[in-house]
């Protein structure tokens, strides 16, 4: 009954609902990476952090029965991996891009290893708030079941924007990212600032991972993340290191990623895999449009190796 009454509207509705559901991990990883990159270092290992976060959140939630403890564990795991990245990068002549690749492989491998016994059991999942109570239509209700983590992420974006602009910590991070010499001249340890920025970035990326295993798709398996972490890192680049733009870009990405399943739900199944690749194609397309060989990107932290 409800199905027939809204017909093809299912697709935009599912894309809208999907944008909110799928965008959350993008949002957390990109905000985290935004902090790290603003401090002048790039962490490509967040893909591994995301998977480790998903695994540890699921494990702790299963063992303790509390999904929020799982989220905390995911954040701490992420911070630990961030500390590892920053620690290795602070050695002389070590390339942060390469360390990121190594931690991407290490994080995924470790998560698969430790997560083997977690594929079978079911862990307690994160609750959702039902914003669609006013509607009788099942699809509307499904689209408006919104997770608390998404709301936290949405609130975090303007908070970070404000923090970068006005707080002492925001200024320190930006100084380390724009000119390490200036930060040093002010008597601050650049390595320490970057260590903290990378740990906070890892913390947020880990929480993004917990969303994957504890809410949507909501289980732990080895195919859980396929490139969301690295897509989010690319997303920071064309969001021009601006937390608010990270938010809008994440929503756009979530929508693109929800397109395949949405079309499948109305019976369009051909090209399913191609639609699933939509976020990657979109990332590449936006990078092609917004990058330029002639000038460095506006808003890019001057110390960032990847844009120099």
């Amino acid at each position: 009954m409800a199905d027939g009454s809204i017909g093809l509207w299912t697709v935009p509705l599912a894309v809208f609902g999907g944008a909110i559901r799928v965008s959350t991990p993008f949002l957390f990883v990109s905000l985290g990476e935004c902090i790290t990159e603003r401090s002048g270092r790039i962490n490509l290992g967040l893909e591994g952090t995301l998977v480790m976060g998903a695994m540890s959140a699921y494990g702790i939630s299963y063992l303790s029965g509390s999904p929020w403890l799982g989220v905390l564990a995911a954040g701490l795991t992420g911070a630990l991996l961030g500390a590892l990245h920053a620690g290795i990068c602070s050695l002389p002549r070590v390339n942060d891009v390469a360390v990121g690749i190594a931690l991407m492989l290490f994080g995924t491998g470790l998560a698969f290893y430790l997560g083997k016994p977690l594929i079978e059991p079911t862990a307690a999942r994160l609750p959702a708030i039902d914003f669609g109570w006013w509607s009788d239509i099942a699809q509307v209700r499904a689209a408006l079941r919104i997770n608390v983590l998404f709301l936290i992420g949405v609130a975090l974006a303007p908070l970070l924007f404000w923090a970068f602009k006005t707080t002492r910590w925001g200024l320190l991070i930006r100084t380390a990212g724009e000119s390490a010499d200036a930060a040093r001249a002010m008597g601050h340890s650049v390595l320490l600032i970057r260590l903290r920025a990378t740990m906070v970035g890892g913390f947020l990326a880990g929480i993004g991972g917990s969303f994957l295993s504890l809410f949507y798709p909501g289980s732990w398996n080895e195919g859980l993340s396929s490139g969301q972490g690295i897509t989010a890192v690319a997303l920071v680049i064309f969001a021009r290191w601006d937390p608010m733009l990270c938010l809008w870009a994440s929503l756009a990405f979530g929508g693109a990623a929800a397109l395949g399943p949405a079309l499948q739900s109305v019976g369009i199944t051909s090209g399913y895999h191609l639609f699933n690749a939509a976020p990657y194609i979109l990332t590449l397309a936006i990078m092609i449009i917004t990058c330029s060989p002639k000038r460095t990107l506006t808003g890019a932290p001057a110390e960032l190796s990847i844009t120099r």
Binding site: I88, V97, A102, L103, L105, G109, F112, L274, L284, I288
Partner: protein, 369 residues
Amino acid sequence: MTTDTADSVEAAAIAPAADAGFLQRHGQVIEYILIPGAALAGALVVFGGFVALFGKNPLDLYFYMYYGAFGTWFSWQNTLTRAAPLILTALCTALPAQLGMVIIGGEGALLIGALAATSAALALPSAPPLVVQCAMVLAGITGGGLWIMLAGGLRQFRGVNETISSLLLVYIALAILNHLVEGPMRDPLSLNKPSTREIGAANMIGTIPGMDVHWGLVFGLVAAVASYVLIYHTTFGFAARVAGGNIRAARIVGLSVGRLILTVCFLAGGAAGLAGMIEVAAVQGRTNANLAAGYGFTGILVAFLARQNPLAVIPVAILLGGISASGGLLQRRLGLPDASVLVLQGIIFVFVLASDALYGRIGFLKGKV
């Protein structure tokens, strides 16, 4: 040498080809073997500690790793079979590295190369095997080559970071492969595991006489040696290394940097595409999702461990091939999950990168014991 050794070492570090003393030159070679070796040993110790946490005996671990990799003729053959694609995917990272580019999309080029090679074979149903095999090699190299050339072109003409774009291209390649294998190219008879039609037993490239290792190993060895000659003994390679050292200087002396980038990326992707062709023509016999076995990602590690030197890629690929060959034995005898090989690879990678800090800092090689 009786001059101040510390000074001449510093001079050697700035310009390695300059007039360095005998000891210093030796010191550098020793460093290149000693430091990665120490990193490898350190990684093995940490991994031993890791499995000890799960109640396994690290000594058993080392024994089974050695036994499964190099202990018997059977395991040697298994190791060499796995080393063949690793040599080629490692070149996909090592060649662009000469230009200062970090390409990590070898897995994508491998998949596209496999698809192209399979398509070539299926398009020539009645041609003689040798023609089909040559067409597959060409198609594999071209497919993979164009795929990585895309990343290189985006970097050259649009300033898109090649590390991120090449990785995104892996996921896009995987989607294309899944789409074709489950849709237009699907063999209706492949029910459980969607696959393309088989290329036919006559078109398989077979094994090297006297051993159970396929000809892919020879392809890999030839490609590695050819890459070494190209990089270190031709003007093209010299130009590439100049551009990698200082891109502005290269432009000033009139090198066409754009053409260098595109050519090197094509060759790099071609190597990985050839790996895909070999996996089809020597192992799988068809294209399906089995091809995404991670050879492209392990190849990145091989390239970094070999310090991007095409010749050093060969022994390192055999070593890493051995580690992955021993994975099955570790699973059966010690009950370790199959991901333990991935963990070990990750630990090795981290150690190797951290060991970069040691170059030029080892006291006894500087002559101040």
